[in-house]
């Protein structure tokens, strides 16, 4: 992916740029909002990673509003030291697609970057999702593995659907909480892990090949190959 990073803190910028490059992305980095807006409007990027507070008279929110006003719909991920809920809402309202509060784990940033950048162009009207021998039917809301029907609860279905829509990508626990449960809060303990392991047990029972993998220090990933 071609990513534009607008971050005024040199150290954070260098760290993010290096990490994203190591993950195989092309990164352009600028440190002020005006240049960022100029580049975002003039060139084609797959994703913008913006700090909320930027020097140069154009802050992150202004930048996105301007871009959206021009009909530019490049996905935007906000990085911000402002953790207030109002700030988050402001960022998303302006046209941001995701919001990550500093300090963050790089794995979390990378997972969100990939989820945003590889979002299906239109929410594909697929009715079936398939990973290896696991099939999920969105119409009848049934799950089968190797042709055998698996009894699954509605929430587990949504959890599995989310994982399968991001096949081959890391999905973090916070992302699952936000996307599958639709809440923004600090669950204190490993509640998500419990749900994932329960789902995993149901899927892998009697199978020799696990599909849901734990990615150390990051989250989960569903993929066909072991």
């Amino acid at each position: 992916m071609r990513i534009l990073l607008v971050e005024d803190d040199a150290e954070v910028g260098r760290f993010v740029k290096k990490g994203l490059q190591e993950a195989g992305h092309t990164v352009e980095h600028t440190t002020n909002g005006r240049d960022g807006l100029f580049m975002a409007a003039g060139e084609s990027f797959d994703l913008l990673v913006l700090d909320r507070m930027l020097p140069g008279g154009v802050d992150g929110v202004r930048l996105v509003e301007t871009l959206r006003g021009q009909g530019n719909h490049t996905p935007v991920l906000f990085l911000s030291a402002m953790s207030g809920v109002d700030e988050r809402v402001k960022g998303l309202k302006a046209g941001g697609d995701d919001y990550l509060v500093k300090p963050f784990a790089f794995a979390e940033l990378l997972a969100r970057v990939e989820a945003l950048g590889r979002r299906p162009a239109v929410d594909a009207p697929a009715t079936r999702l398939k990973v290896a021998d696991l099939e999920l039917d969105l119409l009848s809301r049934t799950v089968t593995r190797a042709g055998k029907k698996i009894d699954i609860q509605p929430r587990e279905f949504r959890l599995l659907e989310h994982l399968m829509r991001h096949v081959g990508q890391v999905v973090t626990r916070t992302m699952l909480l936000e996307k599958v449960w639709d809440y923004h809060f600090d669950p204190q303990t490993n509640v998500i892990d419990v749900h994932v392991s329960r789902l995993r047990q149901k899927l892998d029972k009697g199978q020799d090949r696990p599909l849901i993998h734990t990615v150390r220090n990051a989250g989960y990933m569903i993929r066909a190959e072991p």
Binding site: S83, D86, R155, P187, Q188, V194, R198
Partner: protein, 472 residues
Amino acid sequence: MPHTRRRQQHPGPLWRLLSSAGFRFALLFAVVFLAAGLAFAGVLWWGTAGTLERQTDSAIRADAMALAERGRDSGLAVLAEAVEERLALDAEGLSIYLLLDPSGRRLAGNLAALPPPRSGDSSWYRLNVEHEDTGPGEARLLVLDLPDGSKLAVGREVSEKGRLRALLTEGLAWAAGAALFFALLGAWLMRRALERRLTPAATTAALIAGGDLSQRVPLSLHDDEFDRLGASMNAMLDRIAHLMDGVRGVSDAIAHDLRTPIARARNGLEEALLSEADDPATLRGAIERGIADLDNVTRVFQAVLRIAEVEAGARRAAFAPLDLSLLLADAAELYGASAEARGQTLNTLWPESLPLVGDRDLLLQVVANLLDNAVKFTAPHGTIVLSAWREADWVVVRVADEGPGLSAQDRTRVGERFFRADSARTTPGSGLGLSLVRAVVQLHGGALWFEDAGGPPGQPGLAVLFRLPVAA
């Protein structure tokens, strides 16, 4: 310049009186009062003294016209007779007549001579008369030129009326003086009363500005505007004190609870650096532990900030109508799995719909914190009960566990930041969970309290209850 400053600091008593708002209000009332009095006096004057004068004038005019007509119709001789007749009939001796023939000879009347003619065409005169028995007096006189060249003067003595007018003027002047006196007295009294009622508030405010936040405005028993002002000031001060405590709490928290994990992270990293271990796995482990410690620091930090944010009431912006039943179902589903993983049972009971207005993320956080505690403190294979019901205008939520419970002493301290009961020291947790619960419940205008869950002695269990106002 020290001189000017000194004058500003210690103004004279007159300046203090003039600059007093109470005095100015009272003065305004006094001016309005005086204006009303003057208008009243003016109308009174016009209605009494003025009317008397006008009445006299019209009587004179009518009499003069009647006589002039008589003279025109019947000649001067008859007119002279009529004048003499009128004088004879006037018992009070207030009438004045004079009839002169064209050559200026006096034909009849009791006036010695006409007043000297004046410029202008006014034929009205005011003259002083020397009366035979009552002495000097004042009279109004109308002089008419008759068509044949003779002159007729008709007048009335108005001394009595003049005295009445003087009396009236004097009375009004005294009344105005008294009104001015009472207005000024009233202004002074009002200023004093205002000052007396406002001084306590001002003194309190000055003491608080001086740094003593424990001061409150003393209230009288009148429950009037001033008491209401004082009460609002006190409420404001309570809030400020509460927020200050909050800020102090955050700094205490940073000093107290963040120091330890920061120190741990620092020590771990330093040790890894100094050990000169060639084993990359050891080094890596130390770094990972350091990152985990820092993440923990971040989490505590976030929680402290969030509590502060909630306590400051800043989150009310995110309030929206919601159904607590759905939220409880989500929480039960989320934490039911954790309970199940520990072999515990989570029983739930609530009505189909519990509408209220609130912040759904915060409310879920509340229920999540309580369920998380319940799961933590209940032994494996125990039971946790999450229930909710309506009670008058409240929705009450109850989370009961089978844990060791909470002593009465601890119950009062729970909810303080970082407070952890002795029995809980060995379980993981920051001691911030219930602080956040309390803050969120208070933000929603509700209350939080604790009860025994009804277990056996020694293991009574804890029931945490909170109530939230139902959506109107």
